[in-house]
Amino acid sequence: MQKLVEQLINGLTVGSFYALIALGYTMVYGVLSMINFAHGDIFMVGAYFGCFTITQLSKTGFTESNPVLAIIFTFIAGAIGAALTGITIEKFAYRPLRKASRLATLISAIGTSIFLQEFVRLIPKFGSLITSIHFGEKNLFPESWRAAIINVTQTFGGAMVKTYPGILGTAGIKLGEISISYSRILIMAIAIVFMVLLYLLVRLTKLGKAMRAVSEDKETAALMGIDVNKIISNTFFIGSALAGIAGVMMGIFYLQIRPTMGFTPGIKAFTAAVVGGIGNIPGAMLGGYLLGLAEVISIQFLPAVYKDIVAFAILIVMLIVKPTGILGGSGGKNKL
């Protein structure tokens, strides 16, 4: 019994990651009918922005004196870093291809995914590169700047694994026999809060209604006076920010991050979005938690190495049985 509840909580924790990332896939699909295959890497970039922030805060001793604020700043940095990455990608990699074939956009997305991974991996190299630029005897940057640039680029990225300082440790609460760590509670709480906020935003605000209008019919939305490009950009901003938050959660929970970390959660979150009904926001949340739970349940019966296979088996079964997903409409007309 105790084991079962702990596995359930484990499933909800993992599901929180999937759900938050899946929302980005589904929102972008909703407004552009495209799969943003770079979304998993936006999640990774968020984790790196968070890692850089918490590392710097810890160096100055701020984390120790203000742990709550430090965590909040880390989440904000991860969210904003990922969001800015997302809107930049949309503007330069997708917008010019809006009228092109779906295949062109797909290739652009895959290219962007590789680009982001390599970029984060090579950041320290760029640091040494630009600090070595010189004209004759004179270097482009003064000595003190060079040290700072090298320091920042090396702290931020690189091919090696980066480590989040273990802020929350393994402490937690105990309910009878069952212990739940604070980091799990934090992750589940943050995921729920942001999903509720997103739901309210999409249902009730002017921006949310405009997003739904754009998702249904861009030409008519433009006739209403909606700046369609701006709404698409805002959609990328929000979806990417949620991925960035998930990235920071991943860092806080698993401690280690690397440039390729976005791949597996990305593709699983995509699975979650499809299972829930891609384009459908509550569907993405539902799909994320279902997938998280399915994975931990599978561990009860199968060796743990099979858990990735379970996710994709679910994807394949779903695509055969109900390609529009659990909450999806019919005929691919699935919209925000």
């Binding site: 209604k209 405009a210 209008a213 019919d217 030409e219 209403m224 700046d227």
Partner: protein, 238 residues
């Protein structure tokens, strides 16, 4: 007097196919002007060029004396032109009320919007009963009313209507055209595209006949009704 809308010799293309081969037309403040012509003549393309969904490669469009040829649609709405697109295009997943709110998207006078929603409900009482329903569940006639009401929510100076009669039951036809007359009487200038030539000529002041991307005839509705070409081709009078 300077016309409210002046379209001067516009040529609009889809890819490299020239669809509008130089269209010139004017709409004056307070008028109902109709644009008639058979399927594929370029009526919708003309309206899309005016609203900025398409940009002509040659020619110019001015509204209230200001050049709007290359403005984007969301800026043109702010200038005071709204359009009821062909086939209604209501946002089917949004409620009736939300559709109306989208119509008012570009407005700055937020506090007046509520009152205007009440006003369009007076014009189309059926919509009020359906206000919480998603627009996709409305009947064709109700959707047409909603599309018109939504366009009115922008408080346009000029209302463009693209085939409002399409797919409507005969009884509804009359009432929609009555609505258009009433909207015009309340001060909104109207440019009406119609294939139902008889009804269009009945409510318009002036009209243009479009044939394969060019204006083949224009004049007062009286002139048009007495034209042999119009009678034969569009009114089915042999």
């Amino acid at each position: 007097m300077v016309p409210l809308l002046q379209v001067k010799n516009i040529k609009t293309y889809y890819g490299n196919i020239c669809v509008l081969k130089g269209i010139t037309l004017e709409v004056h403040q307070g008028e109902i002007v109709c644009l008639i012509g058979s399927n594929g003549a370029g009526k919708t393309t003309t309206l899309k060029s005016i609203t900025g969904l398409l940009h002509p490669q040659e020619g110019s469009i001015t509204f209230g004396g200001e050049d709007i040829t290359f403005l984007e649609p969301h800026h043109i709405v702010e200038k005071g032109i709204s359009m009821v697109p062909e086939g209604r295009h209501v946002f089917s997943k949004l409620t009736t009320l939300e559709n109306l709110e989208m119509g008012a998207y570009s407005r700055k006078d937020i506090s007046a919007i509520q009152q205007d929603i009440e006003d369009v409900f007076k014009l189309f009482p059926r919509l009020k009963e359906r206000s919480k329903q998603s627009a996709g569940t409305l009947s064709g006639g109700e959707q047409q009313m909603l599309a018109i009401a939504r366009a009115l929510m922008a408080k346009p100076k000029l209302l463009l209507l693209d085939e409002p009669s399409m797919g409507l039951a005969p009884i509804l036809l009359e009432s929609i055209f009555e609505n258009v007359k009433e909207i015009n009487a309340q001060g909104t200038t109207v440019l009406l595209v119609e294939q139902n030539t008889k009804l269009a000529l009945a409510i318009a002041n002036r009209g243009y006949v479009l044939q394969t991307g060019s204006v083949s005839l224009s004049g007062t509705t009286k002139d048009l009704r007495s034209s042999e070409m119009v009678q034969k081709t569009y009114l089915g009078i042999a």
